[in-house]
């Protein structure tokens, strides 16, 4: 696929999803009401991704304050839904309803995984936030989709963030050790070949055991930002260059942006992520003028647009910033590189130690 073909595919997707969510028959109550208040019909005015800036930014407060039923498309009216949460360290978390999106996202992701390092039929372990998160079901579905089963060890990031906020770092270490002890026991005593975890938990497991020597071949990682130095450390030292490190960038609202793990060494371990287009689009915008896309090679704030029949979310400003990177032959659309918390250079951000 060329970049032009990818753009055409995305424009077609935008029209399809706008039509779906803003039509009375299939549409979403929230967006139908929004259209009445806005006084314009996106079906008439949004003909492609370039027109998406006609929407203001999606406000995350809507996912807290609106009833979840208002985000159920009329087409899915009688289907019970999953509720997935994000945030929520204090107060009510953001919630997203869903049905099959996570399966589609992770099946699409599965196609990108190397069978050598993530063998079909191999069992998985997920060490990280489970509970009300989409990730919990998604990783298990990924394992099942690839013919394996999934073990889980839970970590509550909300509690960790509270501890860090209170500077109770000893407690953080003790809680992490508690989680690690569970993970290490499972890895030692079960046949596991793939792991999903966060970078810091991966390093923490690696402090206790040789991950590769216990049969793990592939590590799919997501969570906090990672500097190139940290990525190299995880690949070369924690995984001893014997297992493959696959960084991803994602959340409950987007799905999963993938990277090119095989190209990391030649790129000095600078990670570039590509959104799961056309299901979601990432754009690097000028933080002071968010209608403007940054030039390639420049840092800007990450803006997410999600385009599925289950969930339409235009122009959501993530809490991250990243470098706008050129399209890749494998993913012929813009990438986002060296993601870090928005304002990381000017303010202290709690990312958690999980």
């Amino acid at each position: 696929m060329t970049t032009d073909e990818a753009k055409a595919q995305l424009d077609e997707r935008v029209r399809e999803i706008i039509n779906w969510h803003f039509s009375e028959e299939t549409g979403t109550p929230f967006w139908l009401d929004w259209m009445k208040d806005a006084g314009w019909d996106p079906r008439e005015e949004v003909k492609g991704i370039d027109d998406i800036v006609k929407f203001d930014h999606f406000e995350d407060a809507w996912l807290r304050d609106e009833k979840n039923e208002r985000f159920v498309p009329n087409a899915y009216k009688n289907r019970p839904f999953n509720v997935f949460e994000t945030g929520g360290t204090t107060g009510l978390p953001k919630q997203r309803v869903g049905w099959d999106d996570y399966k589609h996202d992770y099946e699409q992701f599965s196609d990108q995984l190397s069978d050598e390092y993530f063998p079909k039929g191999g069992n998985w372990i997920m060490v990280g936030p489970t509970g009300p998160r989409r990730l919990r079901l998604a990783v298990e579905h990924l394992a099942n989709h690839r013919g394996g089963s999934c073990y889980h060890v839970d970590l509550d990031p909300r509690w960790v963030k509270r501890l860090i906020g209170r500077k109770e770092l000893d407690q953080v270490e003790r809680y992490q050790a508690h989680v690690m002890a569970q993970a290490v026991e499972i890895i030692k005593h079960r046949d596991i070949s793939c792991i999903f975890t966060t970078p810091r938990l991966l390093a923490s497991i690696g402090e206790r055991i040789s991950i590769a020597s216990h049969g793990i071949r592939g590590c799919f990682c997501g969570g906090t930002s990672m500097t190139p130095e940290y990525v190299r450390f995880l690949q070369e030292e924690v995984l001893e260059n014997k297992a493959l490190f696959v960084p991803t960038y994602g959340n409950t609202l987007m799905g999963l942006a993938v990277s090119l793990p095989e190209e990391l060494p030649e790129n000095d371990y600078s990670v570039t992520y590509y959104a799961p287009q056309p299901r979601a689009v990432l754009r690097i915008v000028d933080a002071d003028d968010t209608a403007k896309t940054m030039d390639y090679g420049e840092y800007g704030r990450v803006e997410l647009t999600t385009l599925t029949k289950e969930f339409f979310m235009p122009r959501f400003l993530e809490r991250d910033e990243a470098i706008r990177r050129h399209p890749h032959d494998k993913y012929p659309w813009d990438g986002v590189g060296d993601v870090r918390p928005f304002g990381a250079l000017t303010k202290k951000v709690i990312e958690g130690v999980y």
Binding site: G206, E229, R232
Partner: protein
């Protein structure tokens, strides 16, 4: 010399990080060095493996390590040593220029600090003897022996001494140098503007024959420092009163905090106060007033105004000069904001009617002074009416002190903690009270400037007792 790349050292192995930051020469955009930064988790991994480094030193003879330390001192002072990762060499003069460029220290002060550090290497035997009260160093080789006719055995409390170094004073590296002769590897986190001194000391040790594995150097961010503090077996760090408070119950951590060092004159000697002005001036202004052993409060039973005027007249002659001026004794601030904040704090204190800046009548210009792109604070002596005044017991990073009148019998009650106290008196009863006071760490009796200390006695803790613990033991005849 082009800007060198200072790498991470992992048990002596060079690690060039992908996370690189450039430090500029003060007042310019010209790079002084590129610094490799280590990530926190890497440091945690390495700390877990420090036993290997300790084993290298454990197998060496203590007397050999003593000789290596002495030789390293000569090398540190005189030799060209590797700098960075590209095979470049650094002469002693290059070291002076590099450190001056990033720290703001005048060349003359750096040379003085170099000599002080050289002295530490050279006095290693005396230091060991002093800190162990005469222990035969071979006991560390065998694990046990005799001292004063009693059986003794010592075991290490840690596989590494970690030191979170500041940027403002190269002489603090003196604190860790004896650790090598004590067979304990070091893990150093340099200050952002001062990688030069720990790097050069390490290179000197290695050239002198010490195993490179004994040295780990981790330029790192806050999370890396946090990992060191939480994971290392023994940690020295520098901080203010809140840092001291935070770690006061953690035996792994020794915080070198504010000194609150004092120079007091007894009632029996106050009529001779003019004889002590030289000592008082040195006490407040040595090393640009940056050391915790510099006097921050002068306490006298009377003549407070006259003494303040006499000290002020002398210290006001210490002016910001070009860094390479051989007479330069005042250091600029590597972080220019610090000078502004400190000046604001002094000015806030002076809003009280009971505080008066005596130096204002003697110095040229304002206290805050800009020169050659750097910020300076000119020496300041404050006359305070009582210890209740806000500036009476403050310590700042420049030549600053208060002068307070106080009856001799109230001195101990009013002055609180002192890292160093010089008491000019011959009053035996008062001297006994001073020796009995638990809030004075180092006590000088007589006309001795507070900044003169001896390393064969404890300084903010006894390094040997920090790194070793005595155990009881017995060995059966048949063993």
């Amino acid at each position: 010399m082009s800007a060198p790349h200072i790498p991470v050292l992992r048990q002596g192995k060079v690690h060039k990080s992908l996370d690189v930051q450039t430090i500029e020469k003060l007042g310019t955009d010209e790079p002084a060095a590129e610094i490799s930064f280590a990530c926190a988790d890497m440091i945690k991994y390495d700390i877990a493996r420090m036993g290997e480094a300790r084993e290298k030193l454990r197998k060496m003879k203590s007397e050999d390590l003593i000789e290596i330390t002495k030789k390293a001192g000569e090398i540190f002072l005189n030799d060209d040593l590797p700098i960075g990762v590209d095979g470049a060499m650094q002469s002693p003069e290059d070291y002076v220029l590099s450190l001056a460029a990033t720290s703001g220290l005048p060349h003359a002060l750096i040379r003085m600090n170099m000599q002080r550090l050289g002295g530490i290497f050279g006095q290693i035997e005396d230091i060991f003897q002093g800190l162990t009260r005469g222990l035969d160093i071979a006991v560390l080789d065998k694990g046990y022996g005799e001292q004063g006719g009693a059986p003794v055995s010592f075991s290490p409390t840690t596989n590494q001494l970690a030191v979170i170094l500041p940027s403002n004073s190269p002489a603090v590296n003196a604190l860790w140098i004896p650790s090598i002769a004590m067979k304990i590897p070091v893990l150093l986190k340099p200050g952002r503007e001062e990688p030069w001194t720990p790097w050069r000391i390490i290179q000197a040790f290695i050239k002198a024959g010490c195993p490179a594995e004994a040295f780990s150097l981790y330029p790192t961010q806050h999370d890396g420092s946090g990992a060191i503090i939480r994971r290392a077996g023994r940690v020295m760090l520098f901080g203010d009163d809140s840092t001291v408070k935070q770690y006061e119950n953690d035996p792994r951590i020794e915080v070198h905090g504010t000194g609150y060092s004092k120079f007091v004159i007894g009632e029996d000697e106050i009529e001779n106060w003019k004889d002590y002005v030289d000592s008082m001036v040195e006490s407040v202004s040595a090393n640009s007033g940056r050391s915790c052993i510099c006097t921050s409060t002068f306490v006298v039973p009377k003549y407070g105004d006259e003494i303040a005027e006499a000290i002020a007249e002398r210290v006001a002659q210490i002016k910001p000069l070009a860094q390479d001026d051989p007479d330069a004794k005042l250091s600029g601030f590597a972080n220019p904001k610090f000078a502004e904040w400190i000046n604001e704090a002094v000015e806030d204190g002076l809003k009280s009617d009971g505080c008066r800046d005596v130096t204002a009548n003697y110095r040229e210009g304002e206290r805050f002074h800009e020169r050659d792109g750097m910020n300076y604070l000119q020496p300041t002596i404050i006359r305070c009416d009582s210890f209740d005044e806000p500036l009476a017991l403050r310590e700042f990073l420049f030549p600053f002190a208060s002068v307070v009148e106080c009856p001799q019998d109230e001195v101990l009650e009013k002055t609180g903690y002192s890292l160093v106290m010089t008491a000019v008196t011959k009053d035996i009863e008062w001297i006994n009270q001073l020796f009995d006071c638990p809030h004075i760490e180092r006590l000088n009796i007589g006309n001795i400037p507070t900044n003169r200390i001896s390393w064969n006695q404890p300084h903010e803790g006894n390094l040997f007792e920090f790194l070793y613990t005595r155990r009881s033991f017995a060995i059966a005849d048949s063993a």
